[in-house]
Point group: C2
């Protein structure tokens, strides 16, 4: 393989670059039955041999009951209180937490108390301290805590990572990543993602900016050191958050600088580009899974492109997690990894408020 | 035409969106006979009916004499001193200044004193004050002063501008632009672009970052308000400049934020993407002229692409300038427009040094 043959890099990866033969099944309690769980998670868990959804947990009785009615394997509906009290703990092995960010800790703590593995949606929590407390709770209970960064199990992103590790970029110099959508088109009546009490300090960086941030960390094996940010809001739907749109810059520990953009009120866009001393790699479109993705390597001024058919990102995610849980293997990305994103996002909001460069405290004190 | 039919927008533009029929000829004195003038300018002026190179000005006798020997229409070789003194002023109508940045003012002043139109390479000068002084000199002499931003006469960029003006983006929200090359591959023994005495305060923002900066101003009809920047150098070739690589953010007067990257020591890369409330437009690759360019419009989640065959950017530039000069029409981009970029670049270096947000003084006092 010549050192810049991207097609060969990609062909060398199987559809999954980890062994997906597994005996057994991980039974999930689904905590939070909103749009994402119903549209994207339940079909996948029903389809995958290594997974099942068996318990539906929601604060809304009609939601949890309709899930039991609609999905064969889901036999038990629980309120949050019942779930916290440990009702039906024998009916599930792991918990998938997909509630508003600021409630993740309470559900993860309950799961840990019950001795269950936790797969928690991103971002882990609304504050770094609460995210750190989640890590503590799971460590004390000795249960795995995994953050559901589905980019880390996306075949195109994993190919990119291999290309970076094979040195196709030389030394990384600069990253640009962006993600935007018009959330008002998805939720015309508003959504908890725009409510700081539930989402955390903002809505665009927290929900969308985390994609280029975490994907850069994953691809380059780097950690954030400091950030700067510019954010603004003026639309009525965004009155409670500071970041209808945000531009932020992250300086990583190897000196690489990432410039990122996130907005809940702009045309659907997403991509990531890394420029290095010897090559550049671009993923576009990225992050969203509805479209054919393209990776383009530029090296010595020549372009090489590879396309990736759309995958079901949640299927990749759950297959990967179940496989590793069933084999008793450690599962990335861990809670400790996720805390760093929450801390970085917190620093980004500080930076947007103050106008200053803000250091990222990657080891925050856990909340009580 | 549906409002998001990019192909129709593009087809509606002729190859040039201005009338290129012209009688007459503009005779240029070429001031500075480096790589750019010899490789990119002399062939174009020889080929275009509306232009001719008639006088070669250089500090190096062998250079100016070889140009007279090699190019039929170039009959007179002048030293800088002879040019400043007004030798052979009847042999040229306009002056093309392509010397190190910090010397542009002296040559432009001489040209203005001789009553000649000035086409000055970008960036106009090494400091905002000297750029402002150039504007003053040309105004006093009542001669046109044009800055050679060839993006502004590039057909793909002009199509993009039409698309923006037709509202295909909705309201612009975010811009990302980048340009990088390995200057060490082009000039292994170093180059004045890396010498602050000749280039200005730095080498990457000044020489390359100006492309996304000026192109954004041109496309969106916006002006810079404030900037932030992060820059670093560690390679030996870059010891005298602060910006072997630089990331900078420009906030414009309409609230649009542009994140830009420039490096003289990274893989060849260049592009511009604008995300708006209703659509996004991407030009990639951009700026360099050796490759087929592609404009991609995303609107309502659908992609529309148009490609552009490579053009000779200097040919477009000179044809446009000559056409307007011959008709006695005003020619954009003017010196007053160019001063704003030099002021913005100066603010970017201040921002990189201080770590602070820096306001752009778009109306600097002219140097003595």
């Amino acid at each position: 393989m010549t050192e810049y043959d991207l097609t060969t890099v990609t062909a060398a990866l199987s559809r999954r670059d980890w062994d997906d033969s597994t005996d057994g099944e991980v039974r999930f309690a689904l905590v939070g039955l909103g749009w994402w769980t119903r549209e994207y998670v339940l079909p996948v868990l029903t389809d995958l041999d290594a997974c099942a959804a068996t318990v539906a947990v929601s604060g809304t009785a009609s939601k949890r009951e309709s899930v039991v009615d609609d999905w064969d394997r889901v036999e038990t509906a629980l309120s949050y209180e019942e779930f916290h009290e440990g009702v039906a703990v024998d009916e599930y092995d792991a918990v998938y937490v997909c509630t508003p960010n600021a409630t993740h800790l309470d559900h993860a703590r309950a799961a840990a108390d019950h001795g269950k593995a936790v797969l928690c949606e991103k971002p882990m929590e609304a504050t770094p301290e609460r995210a750190a407390a989640m890590v503590d709770a799971c460590e004390r209970a000795d249960v795995p805590l995994i953050v559901a960064y589905r980019m880390q199990t996306d075949p195109a992103v994993r190919s990119l990572r291999t290309a970076v590790r094979d040195g196709l970029l030389g030394d990384p110099v600069h990253v640009h990543g962006h993600m935007s959508q018009r959330i008002g088109d998805i939720f015309p009546d508003g959504n908890w993602r725009l409510d700081p009490d539930l989402a955390g300090r903002g809505g665009s960086v927290t929900d969308l900016g985390i994609y280029p941030l975490n994907t850069t960390r994953f691809l380059l094996d780097v950690e954030p050191v400091s950030v700067r940010a510019t954010a603004s809001s003026d639309g009525e739907l965004f009155a409670e958050i500071p970041d209808e749109r945000a531009s932020f810059e992250v300086t990583f520990d190897d000196g690489t600088v990432a410039q990122c953009f996130a907005s809940q009120n702009a045309e659907f866009s997403a991509g990531l580009e890394i420029v290095g001393t010897q090559g550049s790699l671009r993923l576009a479109p990225g992050f969203f899974d509805a479209e054919t993705q393209r990776i383009t390597l530029t090296r010595d001024g020549e372009r090489h492109s590879v396309t990736y058919d759309p995958v079901d990102q949640m299927r990749e995610e759950f297959a990967y997690v179940a496989h590793h849980l069933l084999r008793g293997e450690p599962v990335d990305p861990t809670g400790a990894h996720g805390v760093v994103d929450v801390a970085t996002i917190d620093a980004i909001y500080d930076a947007a408020e103050s106008g200053e460069r803000v250091s990222v405290d990657t080891d925050p004190d856990p909340a009580e």
